[in-house]
Amino acid sequence: MNKTIHPDSVPSKANAKAKAKAKTNPATNIRSKAKTRAKAASLLLGTAALLAALSACASNNNEPAGDSAGKDAGKDAAPAGSTQEAAAPAGSAQEVAAAGFPIVGTPVTLTALGAKAASHGEWKDMKVLNEYAKKTNIAIDWQTVPDAGFEEKRNIVLSGGDLPDILYRAKLTPYDEVNYGSQGILIPLNQLIDQYAPNIKAMFEKYPEVKKSITAPDGNIYSLPQVADYLAPRIGNKQFINKKWLEKLKLAIPTTTEEYYRVLKAFKEQDPNGNGKADDIPWSGEKTSFNIWAGLRGSWGLGTTGDKNPNIDLGPDGKIRFYTIDPNYKGLLEYLHKLYQEGLIDNEVFTQETPQFLAKGTEGLVGSLNVSNPNVVGPKLMDDYVAVPALKGPNGDHLYSPVNPTTQAQGTFAITKHDKHPEATIRWVDYFYGEEGVKFFRMGIEGETYETLADGSVQYKEAIAKNPDGLSLDQAIGQYSPWPGGGVPQLIEEKVDRTGNSLPSALAAAKLLEPDIPREILPSFLFSKEDQDRLNALSGDITTYVNESRVKFVTGALPLNRYDSYVSTLKKMGVDELTAIYQQAYDHYKQ
């Protein structure tokens, strides 16, 4: 097996840096005895030298390209930021109007990389974007990538390719922000916002938590968020129940978990859909989110800070708590296990995809579900469903936990160091955080996509709301503006939001839940590089273990008397360290 030595020697020689070493290493690695082996070695060696040379010139060729922005790579964030401030005025700041349009006197073109949702038309043909380009004198060369592969493409471009000026619908995770931000690839926006973004500044003043939520531990802001000024869109899943079934069985809308159990039981046993078959499914959902759990955890006093940080909330003592090892959590699991065992939870809920679940809903088989609004079950049945309030738990807790902070999505927009016109860029995006811009962005072109009613409110025209070609609202407006699919830099205002979230049923549900939403809703924290490093090692396995065990406890695959060993396993996996890291981030956030 003389060849087994090669796998080790070849990669080490291929290292561009180890050019000199490459000539000595293989010779020591390959203990050549036979003539043929010596020959093989010399051939390998020749190849290695060639490779080293080649890869060296590759990296030489490449460095200037990577640095085409003309700024030093690898600087710390702060200096990169100051370079930005110092260098910028010479180029573009003078030409940027402080207010009003156009933003720049001489036309400017920026390149942007963005994630195109399935419901979008081509961005370069979107009227909203094009009209805005005319208005601002800033043309944008949109490079879009389909949603599915966007992150891969973005990371490769940021790591090895030509940087665009802007990342739009950027899907940056907190980790990405800190990672690319601290490396100077994304520039800090604090000062730019201060000087050139009145709308964003006003938003920060109105919602100080938004500013806090997007400020990295180093004090910089590297990306802009999507913000919602009203509650309905921030509660992704609200609990709904079939009113027709309740009426038929002469039951009231449940207000406690015990009543909820009895209602589901009745749904199961008394054939509420009246087809004579026992096909009624009291509660159903889909596999990616077992959201009955999220909806109910507040009834056991868990999830007191919303939905952004899995398993983390604030305990009664005001300290960060890993709540899925709390004793109350066991009570919740017992309750859910009882529901599952008695067939009150669809037994396919852990395996089925969204369409399967929706098909059951559309067929009128589902009694209770957690969705953003019930029109997902189709126009025929959507009015059968009414909202359920936050249920009172066995200990008297009533809280509806899965609520997003005002900062609905982070990391939606960033400026790279390649951008020569950061001032103009921030002014460009600032528009979408102000009233006029939001209306334009969400509603489109007056007279073409929407109309203003007598009372001053707006509504989509038929072409959008009831598209003759059978396009959904999202797809129809998605030909004009890139907001469908979410995750874009914008301030969603109730006045100009005309989606499922603003349907009466959704608004009613939000109103019903409003008194019981968490008092303090935490954003996804931005961690320092070191903390994030630890989290990367810890949190994946822990989250998997928690989710997997939850499902097993509920189905009974893991009996509840194993709860203590579940807790001690999590302790061994480092839950305490994880909690401490979050505590630190929380303290920082509160400062």
Binding site: H6, N62, K116, S119, G160, A359
Partner: protein
């Protein structure tokens, strides 16, 4: 085979039994394999809720041509088809030429250095620099956003090269080659006039493998192409079908997600039918090369 049938004596009882058993088994297998395929076809003509509820068995339920209408109405589809046909044709040509050029010398025992070259090639099946360094090489060659970025980085597949080399080694009589060389035939002539004509079956298979690979590939396009008008079919199809299961529902409107999931569900069977038809038609065209013993027999006889 035809020759064998003509000259063989009447089949023995054992042979008839063998044939019957063989046909029976294959018939059974045919049903097992064909039913799910049939299911795909009827599902593509059915209402997606009916499919999901398990109401579709033998005939389409809630018959509709909606899905096909939607797929075909997509403007990008024709563009995607055109692009992928081009990439497929050019790419496969390059692939086959390069693979033959690599496989033939390596099949020759008198080709000095073949073992080390083979090892170096096999090594790349397992070890590579990853996406980023490859991207940098492609970029520095100026290939980004061109057709060649989809073709050159995968110009040879070690797997196919090994398959082809094995065929050259074992199916082409070595004596034939030696005598040709002794007659003063050059290596290139030998390859083009004798070896390749005798190797059509494996060339056909390898071409098919490459062609299908180009047809189904989307990742290089995702990474290297920024111009939408250059996207191959699969990029558009994936865009049509993608369901953002991974993103948390919370950041968008779950109505949007649900809508998209429904749309995708309704389309996926039709999309598969539309996109795989050309490749399904390719195979019968190549089948005639796979007749037992025909090639060698033809030369010797």
């Amino acid at each position: 085979m035809a020759k064998a049938i003509g000259s063989s004596p009447p089949a023995s009882r054992g042979d008839r039994l063998f044939d019957a058993a063989n046909k029976l088994l294959l018939g059974l297998l045919l049903v097992l394999i064909a039913y799910p395929l049939y299911f795909v076809v009827i599902a593509s003509f059915s209402d997606s809720t009916q499919v999901l509820m398990g109401h579709v068995f033998l005939l389409p339920e809630g018959f509709s041509l909606d899905a096909y209408a939607r797929v075909l109405r997509n403007h990008d589809l024709a563009l995607g088809y055109r692009n992928v046909l081009l990439y497929c044709a050019v790419g496969t040509l390059v692939n086959v030429a390069m693979t033959v050029a690599g496989a033939y010398p390596l099949s020759r025992r008198d080709f000095a250095g073949r073992r080390i070259i083979m090892l170096l090639i096999a090594f790349t099946m397992f070890f590579g620099g990853g996406i980023i360094p490859t991207y940098i090489v492609v970029k520095s060659l100026g290939l980004v956003n061109s057709m060649w970025a989809l073709i050159l980085p995968g110009a040879v597949s070690a797997w196919n090269l090994i398959i082809m080399r094995t065929f050259f080694q074992h199916a082409i009589p070595i004596e034939l080659q030696e005598s040709a060389l002794l007659d003063g035939c050059s290596n290139i002539r030998l390859l083009l006039r004798i070896v390749l004509p005798l190797s059509l079956p494996v060339v056909a298979v390898v071409a098919l493998y490459y062609a299908v690979g180009h047809w189904n590939s989307y990742f290089p396009a995702l990474i290297y192409l920024s111009d939408r008008s250059k996207y191959p079919l699969q990029m558009f199809l994936r865009e049509l079908l993608v369901q953002n299961q991974l993103q948390t529902m919370m950041e968008t409107d779950s109505e949007t997600m649900a809508q998209q999931a429904k749309v995708a569900e309704g389309l996926k069977y039709a999309v598969i039918v539309v996109s795989s038809l050309p490749m399904l038609c390719l195979y019968p065209l190549l089948q005639r090369y796979f007749v037992k013993g025909v090639m060698v027999g033809a030369v010797k006889g």
